[in-house]
Amino acid sequence: MSAPVIISLVSLMVFGLGIVLRHRPIASSMVTATGAMALALFALRAPIDQPTEIFGLAVKIGGSFQVLGRSLTLSAGNRAVVGFLFVVAGFVFGAGWAARPGAYFFPAGMVVVGTVVAALMISPFLYAAAFLEIAALAGVLLIAPPGQASIRGSERLLLFYTMAMLAILVTGWMLPSVGVTRATPELAARAIRLLALGFAVLILVPPFHIWLLDAIEESSPYAVVLLVGVLQSAGLFFMLRFLDNYEWLRTDLGLMADIRLVGAALVVIGGLFALAERSMARSVVYVLMGDLGVTLLAVSLNTPVGYQLALGLSAVRVIGLAVWGLGISLLQREQSDRKTAALAGRGLDTPIASAAALVGLASLSGLPMTAGFPARWGVMMALAGQAPGVALLVIASVMAEGLACVKWLRVLLSPAGPQPPRGHTRAEKAFLGLGISLVLSLGLFPQLVFPWVVQALSGLKNLLL
């Protein structure tokens, strides 16, 4: 049996159990988290294409599976990323019962993660676009659970991801078939325009971020966090694979300048709007946009260190998002109003949930002592030599986003009128504390993440030259 088949079957089994247990959040959470962690362990450690012995039986797990002339492959090039996605899923599912993101969160989340993993394993990798579209289709169940559905967000997600799929599929045909190279500038420009459209959707470049603004306000923030975290990570890795595969793309200085320009624009827009927003959830969308801008700036360095920083940012972003998502979900559990006034005083009656929301936000903003800081600092240092003006923009955006954190801290600690007593269970507090500790630990010891980043990039050999 091959590794992709094992991953697919186990994912399906976990999905089925998630459906059966959908009205028992704790059981569903435990089953899906355990399944995702087991799959992560398998992806990272299983002996692929080597004879081994399991319970006395000699077996050989193949790395590839053929379907309709295309192959799904788990190889050294993608197993670190596949493992990372399952670890993220396990982490998010494990705390999901506390956030109460809807009955279909666990099974639908498993489908999203499984489909994105298939997108990372499919060869030729251009077909990944279709898998990402299917992941977005499953994502509708995440952001539109009964009772807190984001209908508009779902519609826009579907439209945008369909457009991205079409653009990337056409580019995928153009690049190998039409002979697009530096020597064919007109065709190259056309291919780059289409690719830019596709990746603008995947990386939330405005105006393609509006589905997220709708979804994060109307739906469960925790479910949105899983969807956006997984899709983003896959989108970034997909982009790096494009750059790795096509030499003329990564050596196109104009393209790298454009990526830097878009990155700088996202950093500025993210910083300004994060500060101006009156809803914490929407504020986080703009902080996230700024973080993605920094990621693009790291890519625009076009050096192995730059690519490592980009992947490092992607890894810690998911952790910051998850911790924020858990904190804000617990803060918002008993209220429908998500504007500033509704959070007033919550820091006094639910301090741990408030701290988690703030620490997650601070990590996304790249503030010192949090998981988001080391990689952002690395990007700023690398940019200082090449483009000091852009490095200053990054510093300014960190400061603006830091001010946004202070603003939300003041809101959470501001005196509010008499409110019904709210509390959290010990288990909820334990998960919140664990999340906060993780963010702070990774801020102090970034080397805990770095080996994974190096391993994930090792499959993209051309980017390391």
Binding site: G102, A103, F131, I134, L137, A144, P145, E155, L158
Partner: protein, 206 residues
């Protein structure tokens, strides 16, 4: 068989355009289902000479399933399916929708006859049919607020793309993936429509 289909391809283009227009302008459940089936038949006709009648037939079969999902959803939730156009009241006027559709048809004709996609192997009929469906699909997805109408717009966009893409990529894997996406979109539209209707009908069990 394939030669006959190619010879009469302009009829399929006309069929695609009429079906696309009906999908944008009309709101009756039966006519919408008929138009959706007609759109899939026209798209299947236009790709049959490249992909073969069998594969085109599989695409049409997938289209029939999509139409059944749309029809069942609309039949069960007729009240919820009074499509709500986006924007101001002007869009709610059928006459205005006709004007917009005619403008899009003219734009589609202008683009389609110029081979704007530049895909080798794409016939003039294919280019025209694909352009009509993509533009009308985009129009529908942006004009309406009801989830099923938005999804039908995306499906039209995808059908138009499928005609053009078949000229350059005939891999069964891609075709299978695209059929899955069509069905997934229909199911997503149905799910969102049921959710939207839920408050009026007493809620949906989680």
């Amino acid at each position: 068989m394939s030669a006959v289909l190619t010879a009469y391809a302009p009829w399929a283009v006309a069929g695609a355009a009429v079906a696309g227009v009906m999908l944008v302008v009309l709101n009756d459940r039966r006519w919408l289902t008929v138009a959706l089936v007609a759109q899939y038949l026209a798209a299947g006709w236009l790709v049959a000479d490249v992909l073969g009648v069998g594969v085109a037939g599989a695409q049409i079969l997938g289209g029939f399933l999509v139409a059944i999902i749309v029809w069942l959803t609309r039949r069960n939730l007729e009240v919820a399916h009074q499509a709500v156009p986006r924007g101001n009241d002007l869009m709610a006027l059928r006459s205005f929708r006709w004007v917009v559709v005619l403008l899009v048809l003219f734009a589609g004709w202008g683009l389609g006859v110029r081979d704007w996609m530049g895909l080798p192997g794409l016939t003039s009929s294919g280019a025209l049919g694909a352009t009509f469906l993509m533009l009308l699909g985009l129009l529908q997805a942006s004009l309406y607020r009801a989830p099923m109408r938005v999804v039908i717009g995306i499906i039209s966009l995808l059908s138009g793309f499928g005609i053009a893409y078949a000229a350059v990529e005939s891999s069964l894997a891609v075709i299978a993936l695209l059929i899955i996406v069509h069905l997934g979109l229909a199911l997503a539209g149905s799910y969102l429509t049921i959710l939207q209707a839920a408050p009026a009908e007493g809620g949906v069990e989680g």
